[in-house]
Symmetry: C2
Subunit: 494 residues, 2 copies
C-alpha cells in the first residue's frame, strides 16, 4: 500500500449522514480537523482546532461589526462569580440551582466563599451596570463580552452542540423604558437571524419561547430556530427582554429629566459556537465538511495536475491564477504539493469543505481555461482564464445560493400542521421537523407530548404573527381541547 492509499483511506468518511447522523457528525468533526475531545477526566470539553476556530472568528467578525455599528461596546468581566452574587438570582427565580463548576481553593488555601465559573454573567455584570448608571444620560448602556462559559450538565459530549465549556458572546444592556428594551431585544434577534441566514447559509424561524421555558427572570425570551437534517430543531441564539426583574434584584435605577428615580429595563442576548454545530450539520455530506464560501477559510483551492514534462507550464499558469484571485480578495490556496496525487488532493479538499476547486492541467493551459468544480454537488464547468477573479466570485455566490436553497427547501418541507394529539405525535414520529398546532398555553399539554415522544414546543410565533393570539376564533388546543391561545411549533430539539 503506498503512502497515498493509506492516507486516502484515513480521509474517507465512513458513516452515513442519513442513517447514522450522530456518528457521521462526530466523524466529520474529527476527520476535517475541527475538534478533538478533551483530556481524560474532562468529558464534555473539546479542543477547538484552527480550522474550526477560523470559522468562529468569521462569526465573531460578522456579529462584532454589527454590534459596534449599533452602539455596543465590548468589555471584560471576571470569569468567577461569588456564590452570594449568583444567589441573588434566587430573588428572581424560584428553585434557582445553578449547575456550575465551583472553585473552592486558591493555591493551598480554601476560599472563604466559593466562586462559580461563570455560566452566564448577568449576576456579575448587572451590579456594575448599576454603579455606572446614574442618570437618563447614561442610557442606553450596552456592553458585550466574547468569552467562554461553563455549565456543568451531565450529557454526552457533542462538539459545538453540547459541551460543558463553550465560546459565546453575551450582551447586556439597560434602557429607560420597556419599549426601548424590547426594541433592543428584537434588534439583536435580527442580527442573529442575519448571522444564520447571510453568513452561515441557514434559514431560521423566529419567535419566542413558551413562558415556562423562558430564561430565568426574563419577560420574554426570543429565539431563532434552525432545522437540522435529522429533523430536530436547534435553538440558534436567544435574546431576552428582562423587564425590570434584574434591575430590581441588582438595583439599577436612573434619575429621569425631572430628577425622579426609575428602574431601568434590561436585556441580555447570546450567540454561541452551537452555530458552528448547526453549520457543520446542515451543509455537510458523506464526503465530509461542506462550508458556505462566506465562512470557508479557503474559498477556492487551485489544484495543478501535471506530468514531469508539463510541470513547469502548469504550475506557472496555476500560480498566476492563484495570485489574481488573492489580489481580488478571494481566500485561495494553491495546492502544489508534489507528495500527493490529484485524487488525494480532491478528496482532502472535499473533506475539508473547500467550496470551489479549480482543476488545471495541460489542456486548461493550452485552451486558456480553468475547470471549476463546486463542492456541494460536484457540478463542473469550464471558464475562461480571462477575468478569472470575477468568475470565481460568481461561482462562490452560486455555491452559497445552492446551499441556502437546499436548506430552505428542507425547512419549508418540514413545517407541517396538526390539530389533535395524534396528529402531533404521528407527524413528528414519522417525519421529524416542526408541527404547528393550536395550543392553550398550558405547560401540562406540552408535557404530555414531551413524555411520549420527547418533542417540545421550541417556538411560538410573535404575537403580531399569530392569528390565535386574537381571541375571535374557534380553534381549540390540539392536546386538551380548551380554547387555543397561541400557535405552538412542536419539534424534537438538540
Amino acid at each position: 500500500m503506498s503512502e497515498d492509499d493509506g492516507a486516502e483511506q484515513e480521509l474517507g468518511v465512513t458513516k452515513s449522514k442519513e442513517y447514522e447522523t450522530g456518528e457521521w457528525y462526530a466523524e466529520v468533526v474529527q476527520k476535517a480537523g475541527l475538534a478533538n475531545y478533551g483530556p481524560e477526566g474532562m468529558s464534555g470539553f473539546i479542543v477547538t482546532r484552527p480550522r474550526a476556530y477560523a470559522l468562529w472568528e468569521r462569526v465573531q467578525g460578522f456579529l462584532d461589526a454589527k454590534f459596534k455599528d449599533t452602539g455596543v461596546q465590548n468589555a471584560y468581566f471576571p470569569m468567577f462569580i461569588p456564590e452570594s452574587y449568583l444567589e441573588r438570582e434566587k430573588d428572581i427565580v424560584e428553585g434557582f440551582d445553578p449547575e456550575v463548576a465551583w472553585v473552592t481553593h486558591g493555591g493551598h488555601e480554601e476560599l472563604e466563599e466559593r466562586l462559580a465559573v461563570r455560566p452566564t454573567s448577568e449576576s456579575i455584570i448587572t451590579p456594575y451596570i448599576s454603579q455606572w448608571v446614574r442618570s437618563h444620560r447614561d442610557l442606553p448602556l450596552r456592553v458585550n463580552q466574547w468569552c467562554s462559559v461553563v455549565r456543568w450538565e451531565a450529557t454526552e459530549t457533542k462538539p459545538f452542540f453540547r459541551t460543558k465549556e463553550f465560546l459565546w458572546q453575551e450582551g447586556h444592556t439597560a434602557h429607560e423604558t420597556g419599549e426601548d428594551a424590547w426594541e433592543e431585544t428584537m434588534l439583536r434577534l435580527d442580527q442573529y437571524e442575519s448571522a444564520y441566514e447571510e453568513l452561515l447559509g441557514i434559514p431560521v424561524l423566529r419567535g419566542q419561547k413558551p413562558d415556562h421555558d423562558k430564561f430565568p427572570g426574563a419577560d420574554t425570551t426570543t429565539t431563532v430556530e434552525a432545522l437540522m437534517p435529522d429533523g430536530k430543531s436547534v435553538q440558534g441564539a436567544t435574546s431576552h427582554h428582562l423587564g425590570t426583574s434584574f434591575a430590581e434584584a441588582f438595583d439599577i435605577t436612573y434619575s429621569d429629566e425631572d430628577e425622579e428615580e426609575n428602574l431601568a429595563h434590561t436585556t441580555s442576548w447570546g450567540f454561541s459556537w452551537r452555530a458552528l454545530g448547526a453549520l457543520i450539520m446542515t451543509h455537510s455530506d458523506d464526503q465530509g465538511l461542506v462550508l458556505p464560501p462566506t465562512v470557508a477559510p479557503e474559498q477556492v483551492v487551485v489544484v495543478p495536475i501535471w506530468q514531469s514534462d508539463t510541470q513547469e507550464e502548469v504550475l506557472s499558469y496555476a500560480e498566476g491564477i492563484a495570485e489574481e484571485l488573492e489580489e481580488a480578495g478571494i481566500r485561495v490556496e494553491l495546492d502544489d504539493r508534489d507528495t500527493r496525487n490529484p485524487g488525494f488532493k480532491f478528496n482532502e479538499h472535499e473533506l475539508n469543505g473547500v467550496p470551489v476547486r479549480f482543476e488545471i492541467g495541460p489542456h486548461e493551459v493550452d485552451d486558456r481555461e480553468v475547470t471549476v468544480v463546486h463542492r456541494p454537488d460536484g457540478e463542473q464547468v469550464t471558464v475562461d482564464r480571462e477575468g478569472i477573479a470575477d468568475a470565481a466570485q460568481v461561482h462562490l455566490d452560486e455555491v452559497f445560493a445552492k446551499l441556502y436553497a437546499a436548506a430552505e427547501e428542507n425547512l419549508e418541507g418540514e413545517v407541517r400542521e396538526a390539530d389533535d394529539r395524534a396528529g402531533i405525535l404521528g407527524t413528528i414520529g414519522q417525519h421529524g421537523g416542526y408541527v404547528k398546532a393550536p395550543w392553550c398555553g398550558d405547560e401540562a399539554c406540552e408535557d404530555e407530548i414531551k413524555e411520549q415522544i420527547a418533542a417540545e414546543i421550541v417556538m411560538v410565533p410573535f404575537e403580531e404573527d399569530d392569528d390565535l393570539r386574537n381571541e375571535d376564533h374557534d380553534e381549540t388546543c390540539a392536546i386538551c381541547g380548551e380554547g387555543a391561545r397561541r400557535t405552538a411549533y412542536f419539534a424534537k430539539a438538540y
Copy 2:
C-alpha cells in the same frame, strides 16, 4: 454649585504622578473609566470597562495580524487542566507547585480529579500537539490562543499590572530543529518589541532572563523590558525557547525524511494586558490619561464653541470637519452636547486621553481655520480648514513622536553603569532606573542586591550584544569580584 462644577470636580485627578505614583495610577484608571475593582471577596480581579477593552482590542488587532502573517493559527483549548496533566511538569521543574485556582466540584458532585483553571496552557496544549505531529511535514506547527488565565498570587491588586485573572495571548509552536525554534522565539520577541514601540509608543530593552529566572523548563527566556516613570522596570512580554524539555515530557516526536523518529523543539510566548498598565503609566500625567493616537479610541475630538447667535454656523462647520476626518479613516468624535460647557469638555477629553482636540468657535468659522491642541503638552496651533484631514494626520503623527521621544529620553537617561556593589546599591537607591554591571552569573550575587534594595537582574543582553560573554577580558563581577561572564541590568521591577 452648578451641575458642571460638581462634575468638573469629579473629573480632576488629585494625586501627583511624580510623588504618589501608585495612588495617581489607581486614580487615573478609575476616573478615566478604564477599570473597576472586582466584587467583594474577589480581591485581585478587575472589571475591564469599554475604554480599556478598546485599547486591548487594538493590541490584539496589531499582534494577531502579525502572527497570522507569519504562519500562526488561532485555536482554543479548555480553560481547565486536570491536576495530573499539570503535574507532568514536575518532570521538568523541580519543586513545581503551581499557585492556581482549583475547581473541585461540578454541580453538586465532587470531582474525582480536581481541575486547575489554566495559569498558562503548556501542559494541556502540548499533549495535543503531540497527537497532531507525526511527520516532518506537520512542522512547523504554530497555534495561539487569546484567553484569560488565573494565577493565585496574594499581592495587592494593581489593575493590568497585578491581577489574579488577566487577558493575554499564548502562542505554542513545535519545530524540527533547535535553530528553527530559536528563530521562532526571536521572531515573536521582535513582534512584541514592535507592539511596544510602534503601537504603544514605549521603547524597550531586549535581552534574556538570567538562567535562574527562566520560565520553568525553558532553555532560554527572552524578554522586552520597559522602564516606568517611577524608575521600575516592567517585564513587557516574554518569548521562551523551550528546547526539547516539553517535547520529552509530553512526547512530541516526528519522523524525519529518513523515517527516523526525533524529538521536536518547542517554543511558547505570551503578551498580556500588563502592556496596558505600561501604556497608562508611561504617557499619562496629572491631568489624566494620555494615549498615543495609534491606540486611542478617539484620535480627534471636535469641540464646537458657540453662543446662541452663532450656534448654527459653528455646529454646521464643525460637523463638516468631523465628517471629513471620518471619511479619511480618522477616529473622530464631535462633542456637540449642549449640557456641558467647553471648559468641562476640555477637561473631560484630557482626562480620557484624546490625543488631539479641535476647538471651533465663530473666529475659526470666519477665518476658515481650526485651532488644534495637542494632548501631551497643550501645544496649540491654527491650521487651515482646507486639507483638514491631512493636517489632522500630521498632528496625530506629531503627538505620537512627542510621546515616544519623551519615553525614549527617559529610558536613555536611566541606564547607568556601576562596577561595584556600592555603585549598584547607591545608583538604584538614588535614581532608580537600570544599572549595568559586570556579573559572574551566580544567583547568589543577585540575591545580595535583592535583599538590600529589592532590585533584581531584569535582563541580560543577548550573547552577541554582550562583550563580557567573550572570556578575553579582565572585568570582574561587581558583587563578588570573580571573573565576570555577562553584563547584568539591575533594576527594581513591577
